[in-house]
């Protein structure tokens, strides 16, 4: 059964200093003006498709999405690894689950 995974979408941000969100870092949060989170990566297993989690707001939808204080990492979603990856954001989302 074929499995197709994808990484999550990247975040878009405006900050007072240059660089990726992950390089700006949580310690410089005051320099970050706004962030639009990226959606989670989608997943296809055989004939079944699983849309990535919706992003934005204080937190993305779904259990493995990030919120404004916790997530996979600051400014970076978890990479796809046999299952779809998390989207970027102020805090990035976690990869999907197949258990």
């Amino acid at each position: 059964m074929a499995t197709i995974t994808s990484n999550g979408g990247g975040a878009t941000h405006i900050a007072k200093r240059a660089g990726l969100l992950s390089s700006i870092g949580a310690s410089n949060l005051s320099d970050i003006l706004m962030v639009s989170g990226g959606g989670g990566g989608g997943l296809i297993i055989g004939e079944d498709t699983y849309a990535g989690k919706d992003a934005g707001g204080i937190s993305g939808s779904g259990n493995n999405s990030a919120n404004q204080t916790t997530g996979y990492a600051f400014g970076q979603g978890e990479s796809a690894d046999g299952i779809s990856g998390g989207g970027g954001g102020l805090y990035g989302g976690y990869k999907g689950v197949n258990s």
């Binding site: 005051s30 989170g37 699983y50 707001g57 204080i58 999405s65 197949n98």
Partner: protein
């Protein structure tokens, strides 16, 4: 078997100075808190439009950072003189005897704010002095003068202004206070001082020949009646 796709990232709007803000997400948890206000919608748009998450590549836009022209301030007492420095706060100068201004009082009292203008008695911190001139309480038809960055001098009985250097607070704002609604409405804001050449007076002495700086509105000031004043209901 349990399968979940990848989780999404969080959005964020920073800057504590921005209070009227919200995030809009597609089917996301909502929040009513001021700092994290989030609305959830079930519509998205291919193009970046207000109120809908954008499909595809990200798009960010600062639409509004700070309200500059319609802010209202609430003052507890009529006829206050208010100094409004650049940081948006307000310093109230209460040592001006109200009785002194009564002959000029009207229901809607004009409030003058000046920056770094020396005077005989009034002063506030940071080496910024204010002086409410005799037109500080305006009325229809009165001449109204504003000076920024000058120091008051009286030479041979004439009122003049001398340069005192840079302006500590380059913002000069004029408010009109409405006692019925208990609000003060900003009439205009001046963000810098300019040399007012028509105000130079030659008296033959060093003091009198000092540079007169600041901003003077119009060759003869301006008529208060020419300003349109509106109040938010």
């Amino acid at each position: 078997m349990s399968i979940e796709s990848g989780g999404a990232g969080s959005g964020y709007i920073g800057n504590t100075l921005v209070s009227n803000k919200k995030m809009v997400g597609y089917n996301v948890p909502t929040s009513e808190a001021e700092s994290t206000k989030t609305e959830s919608v079930n519509e998205a748009s291919e193009s970046p439009v207000s109120g809908k998450p954008k499909i595809g590549n990200g798009y960010a836009r600062i639409k509004f950072l700070r309200e500059l022209h319609t802010r209202q301030v609430v003052l507890p007492v009529d006829n206050q003189i208010v100094l409004a420095p650049s940081d948006g706060s307000f310093w109230t100068i209460s040592s001006i005897p109200v009785a002194q201004k009564e002959p000029y009082m009207y229901d809607d009292t004009c409030i003058i704010v000046t920056g770094q203008v020396n005077c005989t008695t009034l002063s506030v911190s940071n080496n910024v002095y204010t002086y409410p001139n005799r037109h500080s309480v305006a009325y229809n038809g009165s001449r109204y003068y504003l000076y920024l960055g000058g120091m008051k001098r009286v030479i041979n009985g004439k009122l003049k202004y001398k340069n005192t250097g840079g302006n500590e607070f380059p913002r000069l704002e004029l408010f009109v206070y409405n006692s019925q609604t208990d609000t003060a409405t900003r009439i205009f804001t001046i963000t810098d001082g300019t040399i007012s050449t028509d105000f130079i007076l030659q008296e033959g002495s060093i003091d009198a020949q000092a540079d007169y700086i600041g901003l003077r509105l119009g060759a003869d000031g301006f008529d208060f009646k020419d300003i349109e004043i509106t109040y938010d209901e």
